[in-house]
């Protein structure tokens, strides 16, 4: 079964309308990343952080991490919110439509990623108020590419959770045991090199590590990242494709309800 562009478009459009009608919520969700940036930036601004590349302000180091964080949260939530559609009955309307399950997953991913991307962009520009310096147009464009890949990856992850969960009750558990560790171990707040050596492989399994490291390399210069920009790009691209594939595989098997 092929891909229905019309279906992908209308699923995306629905997400955009939903976002526009909940503008205040979208803007409100910028609160947490901005507080993180402002207060962590202020609090640790003068500290010497072990493993941090020389010549960087902490706020510079932190900003790509907080962009990654805000996109991680809103992407996973966008993926899992399929369960709200289930709760409100709308998922049935989507599931009986004559389009491939891959199209449904792609449409959903496109919508959720766009919302997450908007938030990431807003965090990036608001961070300039706190002293972050944007190096030019090209870095921003490459950064947007990385941000797309981060959001697709985690919307995909959210969809995977949604397809195996019955309802929204498990969401706090996912937040506590998947989303927060993913954030904290990604090097968003501090260099992972400072962690005990047994924990470092876990960080390397974390998709967000490559997203944040890639953003750092792009926005702050190659010296600021652990891996090369190209390696980061390839790893996170592969993971995002993998996530969407697993998501649509699981959706194919889903029975809407019992």
């Amino acid at each position: 079964m092929g891909i229905s562009w019309q279906a992908i478009y209308v699923l995306w459009l629905r997400e955009m309308k939903g976002m526009w009608r909940a503008k205040s919520r979208v803007i409100g969700s910028l609160g947490m990343p901005m507080f993180f940036l402002a207060f962590l930036g202020l609090g640790f601004g003068g500290a010497s952080i072990p493993g941090m590349p020389a010549g960087l302000q902490y706020i510079e180091y932190l900003t790509p991490g907080i962009i990654g964080m805000s996109m991680l949260f809103s992407s996973v939530f966008a993926g899992i919110s399929v369960l709200w559609d289930k709760e409100f009955g709308f998922l049935k309307e989507v599931m009986v439509a004559p389009v491939s399950r891959l199209s449904l997953v792609l449409g959903r991913t496109a919508g959720g990623s766009t919302v997450a991307l908007m938030q990431g962009i807003m965090v990036l520009f608001l961070s300039t108020l706190l002293g972050f310096k944007i190096a030019g147009v090209v870095p921003v464009i490459v950064a947007l590419l990385f941000m797309c890949l981060i959001s697709v990856t985690f919307v995909g992850l959210g969809l995977v959770f949604a397809s195996v969960m019955r309802d929204m009750h498990g969401f706090p558990l996912i937040m506590n045991f998947v989303v927060f560790p993913t954030f904290l171990l990604s090097g968003a707040l501090f260099p992972i090199g400072a962690l005990p050596s047994w924990l470092i492989p876990v960080c390397y399994l974390d998709p967000l590590t490559y997203g944040v490291d890639g953003l750092r390399g792009v926005l702050l210069g190659a010296g600021a990242s652990d891996f090369s920009i190209l390696l980061n790009f390839m790893v996170i691209s592969a993971i995002s494709i993998g996530m969407v594939s697993v998501g649509s595989f699981l959706f194919e098997r889903t029975e809407v309800e019992r």
Binding site: V10, R14, A22, F88, G89, V96, A97, P98, E255, R258
Partner: protein, 315 residues
């Protein structure tokens, strides 16, 4: 070709479960028909609809809708059907018109055609002036009407309606019934509906399958089903605290062809009941039975259900 063909269809939710939600069902629905599945809650009607609309996989047996196998040709089935679910399935963040537009695009209807059909559908269910408000502001009757409009907007061959008037007031029910008849006549679409309301099945359906415990226990036109009980029915409500409850005396009346006792009610079957009531009253009086009310009626589908299952449908 039949619109629906079901052969030995079975659904068990749990492999260890001995009770099947749908139990070796076989039936056919002709094209253009309004076909009703009538039965109490838990009879398996909704499960059957979910299998026919590809939302559930059958455990065994086969079913085709518009000639396509629900197991192997899911997408062809999905293209051929429209559905109105039992619970609302609208996006509350979208307006009525946007909900229809979403649907039309999902079904690949082209732009010009889309606008025309949405307009027509809104008109048929009389929602033109409410089309541009959010559906979370709709009453449940309006939601149902919008969903019926949505159900046929992509020109399906078969339209499934799961309890289309559940929870609606009498006036709204009447209107929904009219829309359903209208759609059936105008679009020549086959309609399969489930209901546990006798009058609904009686008024709307060309044929009715009476379902109980996952099986169809009777299937015919409402008229033929009612003709199974050709006689009149007299129901007597008795005072159970009265001096005597020896209801057996009614059996001794030679014109009574059938006798049922049920929670303080006695139902007697007979020919020309209008002439017999004085005699019944006389017998009751002599036996010391106090009658609170008398009800004479022609048989309804409710009686047909009672006839086949020994139970009333709402129990």
């Amino acid at each position: 070709m039949d619109a629906i063909e079901v052969n030995d269809l079975t659904k068990r939710f749990n492999s260890k479960d001995s009770v099947a939600a749908v139990d070796h069902l076989s039936f056919r629905v002709a094209e253009g028909e309004i076909f009703g599945l009538l039965g109490p809650n838990g009879a398996g009607k909704t499960t059957l609809i979910k299998i026919l609309t590809t939302l559930l996989k059958p455990t065994s047996g086969m079913a085709t809708v518009a000639g396509f196998d629900v197991r192997r040709e899911k997408n062809r089935v999905r293209e051929s059907i429209g559905i109105v679910f039992q619970e609302p399935a609208l996006d509350w963040r979208l307006t009525g018109r946007e909900n229809l537009d979403f649907h039309a695009r999902m079904y690949g209807i082209t732009r010009g055609e889309r606008e025309k059909r949405i307009e027509e559908a809104l008109k048929l269910v009389e929602l033109e002036d409410k089309a541009d408000i959010m559906t979370d502001k709709y009453s449940s009757g309006m939601k149902r009407r919008l969903e019926i409009a949505r159900g046929f907007i992509h020109d399906p061959k078969v339209l499934f309606l799961d309890e289309p008037t559940l929870g609606l007031d009498t006036q709204t029910r009447r209107r929904i019934w009219d829309y359903i008849k209208d759609v059936n006549a105008r679009e020549r679409v086959t309609i399969v509906l489930t209901t546990h309301q006798m009058d609904e099945a009686d008024y709307l359906c060309d044929r009715v399958g009476i379902m109980d415990h996952g099986k169809i226990i009777a299937l015919d036109t409402p008229r033929n089903l009612k003709d199974l009980i050709s006689s009149d029915l007299v129901s007597l409500e008795l005072n159970m605290e009265g001096s005597s409850n020896d209801v057996e005396v009614f059996k001794s009346l030679d014109f009574v062809t059938e006798f049922r006792e049920h929670n303080g009610f006695v139902t007697l079957k007979m020919e020309r009941a209008d002439l017999r009531i004085p005699a019944i009253m006389e017998v009751a009086k002599r036996a010391g039975i106090e009658i609170l009310s008398v009800n004479l009626r022609k048989p309804s589908l409710e009686d047909v259900f009672l006839h086949f299952t020994g139970r009333r449908i709402r129990e």
